[in-house]
């Protein structure tokens, strides 16, 4: 398989049995490869910024998303209240999946169910598609049956994973909510229930007020904070989860350079995702992969038998 159209890397990695040409992914919902091809053309495919591509979260039914305004610039970061707009499972399979399958990197599909039954239909259907290398379970959502956030409590997370584990052989990644009181415990419960990998962190719950009215600015009320403002939180949560579970971790949160990616790898992540930085630079993932590969090459000792010129 061609890799000269992907970011440089220090070598392939194994992510839950899937080989990636390198460790750089996108955070779900921060890069729309279909839209990017409309804006930039096929140059996107010739210099693709990620070693694996993560879709925007797919729900069972179509969603229009939250009313505007949806964005607020925070100190060194961004609040968003987007509300998971998407075409729904049927629309995703018909419209998006064939286009995402054309990308030069393995495909991760992010799904969210609002109850166990929805999650079963999503995982069963998406997991049967050969174009899909991995499934990410977005657990930052309320379970309408229990009223609890799926990722907030170990028992909720375990129940959600156990409910879908037998439906597919496709590896299941669990995206934790950073709002959990004990993310390592949630990760451990998900691992025991059969998850293959852990993804963290999602955005932090946050609020912005309209300076004129002192009422919530975002149309959806509250929002999620991302960007450099959350980088130290991400590093702490990745280290905490890595100390507790042996599964591969995908770390993210404010990654804007190869050094930030190297920090997350040092904290125990197997791979790193670029999120909000892609808003500032569409090809940020490529640059970050290049910087990371360079720093790893500099650090690693010469291999036995390698010429030492």
């Amino acid at each position: 398989m061609r890799t000269d159209n992907l970011p440089p890397s220090a070598g392939p990695i194994d992510l839950c049995g899937v080989e990636l040409a390198g460790p750089i992914l996108n955070a779900s919902g921060t890069f729309d490869a279909i839209a990017a091809r409309r804006a930039f053309g096929d140059a996107v495919l010739e210099r693709f910024p990620f070693h694996a591509f993560v879709s925007k979260t797919v729900t069972l039914e179509p969603r229009a998303g939250n009313p505007p305004p949806r964005l607020w610039e925070a100190p060194a970061g961004l609040l968003n209240s987007i509300g998971l707009p998407n075409r729904g499972l049927e629309g995703f399979l018909r419209h998006d999946l064939p286009r995402l399958a054309e990308l030069p990197a393995p495909l991760v599909v992010s799904v969210m169910g609002f109850d166990g039954n929805e999650l079963e239909r999503l995982v069963g259907t998406v997991g049967a598609r050969p174009e899909v290398a991995l499934i990410e379970l977005n657990f930052s959502c309320p379970n309408v049956e229990t009223g609890l956030e799926m990722g907030a409590e170990p028992a909720e997370a375990a129940r959600a994973v156990a409910g879908v584990r037998a439906l597919t052989d496709t590896p299941l990644l669990v995206k934790l909510s950073p709002s959990a009181s004990d993310p390592p415990a949630v990760a451990a419960a998900a691992a025991d229930a059969g998850a293959d990998g852990i993804v963290l962190i999602n955005t932090l719950r946050a609020t912005a007020l309209d300076p004129r009215t002192r009422r919530p600015w975002l149309g959806g009320g509250g929002g999620g904070l991302s960007g450099p403002a959350v980088r130290a939180v991400a590093l702490g949560q990745v280290a905490g989860v890595a100390a507790r579970v042996a599964l591969p971790l995908i770390g993210m949160g404010g990654v804007a350079s190869g050094a930030h990616a190297a920090d997350l790898l040092a904290a125990g992540a197997r791979a790193v995702a670029v999120g909000t930085e892609s808003f500032r630079d569409p090809s940020a993932g490529y640059r970050i992969g290049d910087e990371l590969a360079e720093s790893l090459r500099r650090r690693s000792p010469p291999r036995p038998g390698a010429s030492s010129e």
Partner: protein, 282 residues
């Protein structure tokens, strides 16, 4: 609902952008009354961005650490003029310092660098029929200038400003525009939509192209709807990315929310019920 391309016009008025952000050297910053025009050399960019398309701009140095530890994200601006030079296009951007991002951009000096992504979005489409009536309000004169440059003297340009100080940019137009100001200090003491009203009385078959603050665009939309006049409106919305990634800049249309950065910023007036939605113009 609509998330992608629901109202894409038959022939897209889109020049593709190079993938990724690139450096552009600031060549000049001109004072034009209350506004400034920032000129940037873009040798790696396309020579033919469509009027109404836009670029995401950030200062390459000292972007952040201002008031409230901002700015962080780049800011969206339609180019107001493209000058062809041997080394590539020189792009003009009209600026009004209204927040930490525009304050830093207006502080830039020749020789400093910008980060630039673009051209992005869909621009104005050439009029299918009739005369072109171009309507600009305030800093919204920017894409109207680019369109006037393209259409030449056959187009009629109507501009509205707060005062004579803001009207300085009208001198950039090659054919003299008709002016209105809120305080009567230049041109007619009227709203630009009053000028439009009169023009449509004379020429009901014209096509309208407009950019300006939401109340002005709403007045243009309502007037054109009443008269059955075709209109293309360039909107503004807070954007994080400018290329469809964040879904943050959506505006409500008759076919649901559309991403202004991807399916706009120029939209057909007939697609819009109102321009006065929450967050409009921010």
């Amino acid at each position: 609902m609509s998330t992608d391309g629901a109202i894409a016009p038959p022939a897209e008025a889109r020049t593709l952008a190079p993938f990724g952000r690139r450096r552009a050297r600031v060549a000049a910053v001109e004072e034009q009354g209350a506004y400034r025009v920032l000129w940037a050399c873009d040798p790696q960019g396309p020579p033919d961005p469509r009027p109404g398309q836009f670029y995401m701009l950030a200062a390459a140095a000292s972007w952040g650490g201002g008031e409230g530890e901002r700015p962080y994200l780049p800011r969206a601006f339609s180019h107001c003029r493209v000058v062809s030079e041997a080394s590539g296009p020189r792009l003009g951007f009209m600026l009004d310092a209204v927040g930490p991002g525009t304050e830093r951009l207006t502080d830039l000096r020749p020789g400093e660098d910008l980060w630039l992504v673009g051209p992005l979005g869909l621009g104005f489409r050439a009029p299918a029929r009739g005369r072109a009536l171009l309507v600009g309000g305030g800093i919204g004169a920017a894409p109207i200038l680019a369109l006037a440059d393209e259409l030449g003297p056959t187009a009629t340009v109507l501009l509205g400003f707060r005062s004579v100080a803001h009207a300085g940019v009208s001198s950039l137009f090659i054919a003299e525009p008709r002016l209105a100001t809120d305080d009567g200090s230049a041109g007619r003491h009227a709203l630009v939509t009053d000028l439009l009203h009169d023009e449509l009385d004379h020429d009901p078959a014209a096509t309208v192209f407009a950019c300006g603050p939401p109340p002005m665009l709403e007045a243009v939309r309502a007037l054109c709807a009443t008269r059955g006049v075709e209109a293309q409106l360039a909107l503004e919305s807070g954007m994080a990315c400018g290329y469809g990634a964040c879904f943050g800049c959506v505006v409500p249309t008759r076919s649901g929310f559309v991403r202004l950065c991807l399916d706009g910023p120029v939209l057909d007036a007939a697609e819009l019920e109102t321009l006065l939605f929450a967050g409009a113009g921010h």
